[in-house]
């Protein structure tokens, strides 16, 4: 294991309110601020930023993506921990499925792959999954994402039961009945295009349901991929009342609107759908004022041929590990002069806290961090990306800043070239 001395970077770590220029050494995989006494490989990091590795709360592992390609893509985007939603292939609703995936991950991944189990059996919303056994097998959260139990009885009991194991529940707020025809936001763009609408209220009704249930039962919940202005308002009010609720939104809901769909490009088709500019602005506002705690990539690989069909028949989903940080930086920069401390919270500290993790850039800790060059822009080309999937809405777009090096579990797992 090579040792590295990272010299002159601005080190940001919200967990200890650290934000200063320091020399940092990764020796035998561990972090030290003591200057190395032997000649270790020195990397000039002046004008660069070092942050704790990014932590993602929503990614899907499905064809053509493999564990290996997903972890490579994530590492190149600054991630050192990714949470895999339970819907890819066989739903993770039994301990056997969890063990199998853990074994595969240990062999194929260079970063930490965490598993989210199903909240209900087969994510069908009809009966609870064995949450206790799932936790024992190693899941760190449960969810039926990208759907939600439609039956409120099941949902409430699930929250209540999961709380006994301190197992975070990640809710994808969606009323299916009122969004069943929806392939795009129910607004003027969908109306013009003649495609079915997925209204804001499909999300907002279930955000309200989550708030009410949490308040009544005294449980906590995390809402993922929030997309509408009304959801942001509901969450803000709930937080003011002290209800234990956290939420994330995605880079694409921060950067894009349903106008991106006007050419019927299925690579801009997402779940939930891209909405209007007022929603986009509300998400931005929510991220800056603490209403929205995290950014999740919502990385959802699709096969090329699956997307090359009629727009309404194409599956929803976009990949995001490689572009999330740059897209978020690009948007936050427009509003905040120095967005990096906020980014460290939104993309690392807050999600890790929700999962009960304690990563930090402190003396003696295992190195889970990355070096970022905020001034080195690049043009994204899906064909040169690490992900095996190509379904990105950012093809050919200039990206803000570059991840130069990522350390995961003490090892250097990615280097920019």
């Amino acid at each position: 294991m090579t040792d590295y001395c990272l010299k002159g970077a601005r080190v940001i770590d919200p967990s200890q309110e650290l934000d200063e220029i320091r020399d940092l050494t990764v020796a035998k995989g561990k972090i030290t601020f003591v200057p190395p006494d032997k000649s270790v490989e020195s990397i000039d990091c002046r004008e660069k930023i070092i942050m704790p590795g990014l932590v993602d709360l929503r990614g899907h592992l499905q064809d053509p993506e493999s564990l290996a390609s997903a972890s490579m893509a994530a590492a190149s985007g600054g991630y050192t921990t990714i949470l895999i939603m339970p819907n890819g292939g066989a739903p993770t609703d039994n301990p056997g499925a969890v063990h199998l995936m853990r074994e595969k991950a240990s062999k194929n991944s260079q970063i930490e792959i965490l598993q989210c189990g199903c909240l209900t059996k087969g994510a069908k919303g009809e009966a609870l999954a064995p949450l206790g056994s799932l936790k024992e097998a190693g899941v760190v959260a449960v969810s039926d994402c990208p759907t939600s139990p439609q039956n409120t009885e099941i949902f409430a009991r699930g929250l209540e039961y999961a709380s006994m194991f301190e197992l975070p529940v990640i809710e994808f707020p969606r009323d299916r009945a009122i969004s069943s025809r929806g392939v795009a936001h129910d607004g003027p763009v969908a109306l013009k295009m003649g495609i079915g609408g997925y209204p804001r209220m499909a999300e907002e009704l279930f955000v309200q349901r989550a708030i009410t249930v949490c308040k009544s039962l005294g449980t906590s919940i995390h809402l993922t991929s929030v997309s509408s202005v009304g959801s942001v308002e509901l969450i803000r009010e709930a937080k003011e009342k002290g209800i234990c609720i956290t939420a994330d939104s995605t880079p694409h809901h921060l950067a894009l609107t349903d106008e991106s769909l006007l050419g019927y490009d299925a690579n801009s088709k997402t779940m939930p759908p891209l909405r209007e500019d007022l929603d986009r602005k509300a998400i931005l506002e929510g991220m800056t004022d603490g209403t929205i705690d995290c950014v999740s990539s919502a990385h959802e690989p699709c096969q090329k041929h699956e997307k090359e069909v009629e727009f309404d028949l194409a599956p929803a989903g976009v990949i995001g590990y490689e572009t999330a940080l740059s897209v978020v930086l690009g948007e936050l920069r427009k509003k905040i002069k120095d967005p990096f401390p906020l980014i460290a919270r939104l993309m690392s500290f807050n999600p890790s806290r929700i999962l009960g993790m304690k990563h930090s850039i402190a003396e003696g800790k295992v190195a889970n961090l990355f070096v970022f060059d905020p001034s080195k822009n690049w043009t994204y080309d899906v064909n040169l990306g690490k992900s095996a999937a190509k379904n990105s809405p950012y093809q050919g777009i200039e990206m803000n800043g570059s991840v130069l090096t990522t350390f995961s579990n003490g090892e250097k797992v990615f280097t920019y070239n």
Binding site: L191, G194, Y264
Partner: protein, 316 residues
């Protein structure tokens, strides 16, 4: 705009056309309509051209009108319908299109239930595409023949008031008419039940009304649309009989119209649902004129688009 200035080889929507382009098609259609009345009835503008009618959703009027139009221009016409295509064997639209291209089609007329599929095809293959209706998105040739018929009967459309009544939400005909009529200066009111005529249509430049009487009062023409119960869920309105009761156009309600206001309908008509049988047969209804005009308008579309796909035989 002169015929020779026409630049497009595909016709995907009326939204993308300029007023000049619409005028150009109408002008050419008037010429073809005159030619059709002469006993020879056939020109050889598209001789040797292979026009493929790819109809992946049921259609009678549009498919036959495109066939007659293409044959009147001496094109070779091949018609493929949903059931006879390989799509039922699991072939994707992309592959079907690539095969039709490989088989030497010079122009494809496509009808599909998915909005945007003609655009998808035009990006996938190098053959001109004519949209003959894509889901609830657009039906440009229908919009043009409606405008053509209005022109014939009431002349210049600038400032004219046209009401489109019925199932607007699911209607590609309403959308194409809205774009086309607005571009020619008409004022368009979209009317019908609130669940089928959302207010957001105002952002496309329409006036929205849920009051039948008010929407008919000063219209120069009313265009009725069929209730597409096959596309709706039962939550859009209670029943066809309730629709007829609240929004059906009958003899009594036709008195709300101006005396010389026209009645149009793109068909198929549901007699006794959106329109009274007597009214459909009355002389203020121009429904069969629309069908007839559909041939000349589609000849104009095929002729103009083929003009830019190379090798058009000109006989001046």
């Amino acid at each position: 705009m002169e015929i020779k200035d026409w630049q497009r080889s595909s016709l995907l929507s009326l939204e993308e056309l300029t007023a000049e382009e619409i005028e150009c098609i109408l002008c050419q259609a008037f010429k073809f309509k005159e030619e059709l009345s002469n006993p020879r009835r056939q020109t050889d503008h598209l001789k040797g051209k292979r026009v493929v009618n790819l109809f992946l959703e049921p259609s009678t009027r549009t498919r036959i009108a495109f066939e007659i139009a293409a044959k009147s221009l001496s094109a070779d016409v091949i018609s493929i319908s949903g059931k006879s295509s390989s799509l039922t064997k699991g072939e994707t639209l992309k592959d079907t299109a690539l095969n039709i291209q490989a088989l030497g089609a010079d122009l494809i007329v496509v009808r599909h239930s998915s909005p945007g599929s003609p655009l998808f095809l035009s990006r996938t293959i190098d053959v001109p595409i004519i949209n003959a209706g894509d889901g609830a998105h657009e039906h440009p040739s229908q919009g043009l023949l409606d405008i053509f018929t209005l022109r014939e009967n009431i002349g210049n459309l600038m400032g004219r008031k046209i009401t489109i009544l019925g199932d607007i939400l699911f209607s590609r005909v309403a959308r194409s008419n809205l774009w086309g009529l607005k571009k020619l200066g008409a004022e368009v009111t979209l009317a019908g039940p609130s669940t089928l005529v959302p207010r957001q249509f105002e952002e496309m430049g329409a006036r929205v009304s849920h009051d039948l009487k008010e929407s008919l009062a000063d219209a120069d023409a009313v265009m009725l649309l069929r209730i597409q119960h096959e596309r709706q869920s039962s939550s859009h309105f209670p029943s066809l009989s309730e629709y007829t009761k609240m929004f059906g156009l009958n003899e009594a309600r036709s008195k709300w119209l101006k005396p010389n206001a026209l009645i149009l309908h793109p068909g198929p008509i549901n007699r006794g649902v959106e329109i009274d049988s007597e009214l459909a047969d009355s002389n203020r209804a121009v429904i069969l004129d629309q069908v007839k005009n559909g041939i000349a308008v589609r000849m104009a579309i095929l002729y103009l688009c083929a003009q830019n796909s190379g090798g058009l035989i000109k006989n001046d």
